[in-house]
């Protein structure tokens, strides 16, 4: 079992980390001249959890508005200039970070950086664009109702987190976003787009020195703007979500389904949890990236019940989620749910076998080089490490940490973590056919099964 080690050190690549003197802004840029393209991510360590009550979607809305006009350029002019440069620039909202993701042909780097600075420091939030964006996002939310996978994810998050901000949809609810006005969007921008939260991560055909210099200037501009505002500089703070007190099941009722979307899970762990690597291995054996995982073998290969069956953690500054996902035919859904619950119960009770442990351990160690084998993956790792306050190099440490694990400690961690009696279960399907058999499959009294129409907010 050999550990894969990156050869990046002997390439002509430079990785910079610097906090500019007097500023909190951070930058990490990796030079990669193999193609004439530069990838730049400008992130702020804050996110959708700051939306606030009845303001779901506000962070995403504010971020999208950054690209819809500055004091100098209209939305159309921004778009024309980006296209002229051969460049991309999009906004991504996560629960605890927001990111302007961009790429540009290296020959156009300077005008691109100028535009990027302008978008970040001088947005104009025009009323007409606010009105248009409300219509567009509302329609995207409506359109998503046609996609059962997206519907299932949205319903599961809301159901699992029971009112905690982690359960709020990133795009928001239509009833909330209808009420947004320019004043609160501007106020949210001032709260979120600030120098102390700034993080620039990129790679490509540019010099690290140039990117460093640009980040310093951007941080300086933001600090200057903020000095005129009276804002506290506290870092993002999120309260931990509360675990459920019993097993629950929600049917998201949609007519004419020949297939369902099952999500089941519980509150997860932090990546800094002492049990993280043990549970990482345990989860990989259950349903990680493998056709040989327990779920894929039992649900797909042996029974043909679902095209896919997997399990995964989602991480945040607080414990987020651990979930199992499968999408069987409606006719097989009760059996597939019952069997999946049995697998989860067995995982908690007996852990993984010696063979499963050895196979998964070997596989994870041997494939660990793929965690950081390209510049874009290394960029994503840095974003994750910085936004979740992980130690530098955490993502690269997986192979060494996994190599030291023993089966008994993995199984003990699974025993302590997995809570089959407190799972949240959501099923997107046709309720009239499924309610009774699903209650039986989940071992929940039928009158405790919750049903909500798929088009409810």
């Amino acid at each position: 079992m050999k550990t894969q080690k990156s050869k990046a050190s002997y390439l002509a690549m430079i990785l910079f980390f610097c906090g500019a003197p007097g500023f909190s802004a951070e930058i990490a840029f990796e030079r990669d001249p193999s193609l004439p393209v530069v990838n730049i991510n400008v992130a702020f360590k804050t996110g959708a959890v700051t939306d606030g009550p009845r303001k779901s979607g506000l962070t995403n809305f504010m971020g999208e508005m950054l690209l819809r006009g500055t004091r100098i350029r209209s939305k159309k002019q921004i778009e024309l200039d980006l296209d002229q440069m051969g460049a991309k620039l999009d906004f991504e909202t996560r629960a605890e970070s927001i990111i302007l993701r961009g790429s540009v042909l290296s020959s156009q780097l300077e005008p691109y950086l100028k535009l990027l600075s302008e978008v970040i420091t001088q947005p104009s939030f025009p009323e007409i664009e606010i009105s248009k964006l409300k219509g567009e996002i509302s329609s995207v939310i409506q359109e998503e109702l046609g996609h059962d996978g997206a519907l299932g994810n949205r319903a599961f998050s809301k159901y699992l987190f029971q009112g905690h901000p982690y359960g709020n949809p990133i795009l928001g609810k239509i009833s909330d976003l209808k009420k947004f006005n320019r004043t609160e969007i501007l106020g949210h921008y001032q709260q979120l787009v600030r120098e102390p939260l700034l993080l620039v991560v990129g790679s490509g055909d540019a010099s690290a020195e140039r990117m460093n210099e640009w980040t310093k200037l951007l941080g300086h501009s933001l600090a200057l703007i903020q000095s005129k505002q009276n804002l506290s500089s506290s870092a993002l703070s999120v309260t931990p979500p509360k675990p459920a007190t019993r097993r629950r099941l929600l049917i998201v009722d949609k007519p004419d389904r020949t297939q369902t979307q099952i999500n089941l899970g519980q509150i997860g762990i932090l990546m800094t949890d002492p049990n993280y690597f043990k549970l990482y291995l345990g989860n990989s054996a259950l349903g990680g990236h493998s056709f040989s995982s327990i779920l894929m073998q039992e649900i797909r290969v042996k029974r043909g019940w679902s095209y896919g069956a997997n399990s995964a953690f989602r991480f945040g500054l607080q414990p987020r989620s651990w979930l199992v996902h499968l999408f069987p035919a409606s006719k097989d859904t009760p059996d597939a749910l019952a069997y999946t619950l049995k697998i989860v119960e067995n995982l908690q009770k007996n852990g993984i076998s010696a063979e499963q442990f050895e196979f998964t351990k070997r596989s994870l160690i041997n494939s660990s080089g793929f965690i950081y084998n390209t510049p874009s993956k290394r960029v994503e790792n840095t974003l994750l490490e910085k936004s979740l306050n992980l130690p530098q190099g955490f993502m690269r440490s997986h192979a060494d940490r996994i190599a030291s694990l023993r089966r008994d400690e993995v199984n003990q961690a699974l025993k302590n973590f997995v809570q089959p009696d407190h799972l949240a279960i959501t099923v997107v399907g046709t309720a009239k056919e499924l309610k009774s058999p699903l209650a039986k499959a989940a071992g929940i009294s039928e009158d405790l099964i919750e049903v909500e129409p798929y088009d409810a907010e």
Binding site: D83, K132, S139, L145, R300, F370, T374
Partner: protein
């Protein structure tokens, strides 16, 4: 590209490249006859070693030592185009069976062998014209993957039990991609209505009744006909030495015997003489529109211009259809795709409407925009922006080992030589405003139009 274990089969890809068939096939034949190994430029400092073996197997190697990993892809010139009525979906179903038992590997051993060695992104996909098997490996595992892939090229055993289970998995995939997806249903209807004779008429995943009636014997027959070294191209990109790859491929594939090339598909689709349309009542909240125009096969000289048109209509941030539909509050999103298929295929325009807006209104606006494109010359600035978008996409599509291998495999399978993709980019750069007008006039004719609208049930 994010790895997802759920996507065993990506049924089809959209794209935007093509070139003259005469030039390509002639270049390829001449090169093969003159030298069994060529060294040709790809992009930047990357070179392609293109090797032809005596049994007809083609090997392409690109060395990139920036990380100790490599992509290994095997492309077969077989897709749903090679099926016959009553056996639709066989190419894709067989793709699934390639992961089953073979002469020296029991069911599941192929996956376990590769995963244990650290394979990443082990997957496959089937299109109308080709099928590809893909994975990335640690650099130390070159011979392992070559040996395993050479075994399954000709030694797969199709038994009744694995056939039946995998057919059920494919039925579930069909439920996922088509039956329960409004976009999947509309896409299937579009091709079904636009084509009446040609195999592009049916979906790659096949019809349910055909899958139900298929047997393991059908699959075995299909395998013997289409899976042979002379129908395949292997692409290896990453931390490898060309000579080592060449020698190991020769060692493990060299004894495989070439097979007669199946008779080429000669079914010519009758000329469409009238516009066609269909309205579907779906479980959706906002209306959807899909328009398809007949376009030539990918080797036609007009394809680079259609690529430019695609960028003019919906490429980048600012484009004609976004201006006309999204900025005016009629649609929430709009897109277009010029399918690069071997035979004449479709130029597709899709729109998701905003709440309360009708697909018919969007259709009228789109037709007006197409008419304008066929009457007025596009300005040089707008034309240049469209070309810049294309150039940017081209470079972005070559970033990782996987992407380089995908690019090479696609054009080797479709055109017989990867130079097709490179020449396409050169031709895009030479497209003029008059070309755009001429090509728009030629292909955006009412009689070659097929329209599918999705309305709320």
């Amino acid at each position: 590209m994010t790895k997802t274990i759920l996507l065993l089969s990506l049924l089809f890809f959209s794209g935007c490249s093509s070139i003259s068939s005469d030039q390509l096939s002639s270049d390829a034949r001449t090169a093969t006859q003159r030298v069994p190994q060529e060294i040709l430029p790809l992009s930047g400092s990357f070179k392609v070693n293109r090797i032809q073996f005596e049994n007809g197997l083609r090997l392409l190697v690109v060395e990139d030592h920036s990380s100790p990993t490599f992509a290994y892809q095997t492309w077969f010139k077989v897709g749903s185009r090679n099926e016959v009525p009553g056996k639709t979906g066989l190419a894709h179903l067989f793709e699934h069976l390639m992961f089953k038992e073979s002469k020296n590997l029991k069911d599941g051993d192929f996956d376990r062998l590769l995963e244990s060695a650290g394979a990443e992104g082990e997957n496959a996909f089937t299109s109308r014209d080709y099928t590809a098997y893909i994975q990335e490996m640690p650099a130390t595992q070159l011979e392992l993957i070559i040996k395993a892939e050479s075994e399954r090229m000709t030694q797969v055993i199709v038994n009744d039990q694995s056939f039946k289970t995998e057919r059920e998995v494919v039925q579930n995939e069909r439920r996922f991609r088509n039956e329960n997806s409004p976009d999947g249903i509309m896409d299937q209807e579009l091709f079904q209505l636009a084509f009446r004779q040609h195999p592009y008429h049916w979906p790659v995943i096949g019809y349910q009744q055909d899958l139900d009636s298929m047997s393991a014997r059908d699959a075995s027959q299909f395998y013997r006909t289409f899976y042979a070294p002379n129908h395949a191209t292997i692409v290896v990109v990453g931390d490898v030495k060309t000579e080592v790859v060449r020698d190991l491929v020769k060692k493990h594939y060299g004894s495989l015997v070439s097979q007669p090339t199946p008779e080429a598909i000669q079914i010519a689709e009758p000329n469409q003489t009238d516009p066609r349309r269909k309205q579907l009542a779906l479980n959706i909240q906002v209306e959807k529109l899909l328009i398809g125009y007949k376009i030539p096969g990918f080797t036609n000289d007009d394809m680079p211009t259609l690529d430019v048109i695609q960028n003019l209509l919906t490429g980048g941030k600012n484009n004609r259809l976004r201006d006309a539909l999204v900025e005016t509050g009629i649609a929430s999103s709009v897109g277009s795709y010029d399918f690069e298929d071997r035979d004449p295929s479709l130029f597709i325009i899709m729109a998701n409407l905003q709440k309360g807006k009708q697909a018919g209104k969007a259709e009228k606006i789109i037709l007006r925009q197409l008419k304008q494109l066929s009457r007025e010359l596009v300005s040089s600035a707008e034309l240049q922006r469209a070309k810049n978008k294309s150039q940017f996409s081209f470079y972005q599509g070559l970033e990782s080992n996987y992407e380089k291998a995908y690019f090479l495999g696609t054009y080797e399978s479709l055109a017989g030589h990867f130079n097709a993709g490179l020449l396409h980019e050169k031709r895009v750069a030479a497209v003029t405003a008059r070309d755009v007008r001429r090509v728009a006039q030629r292909y955006f004719q009412p009689q070659s139009r097929t329209v599918i609208t999705g309305v709320k049930k």
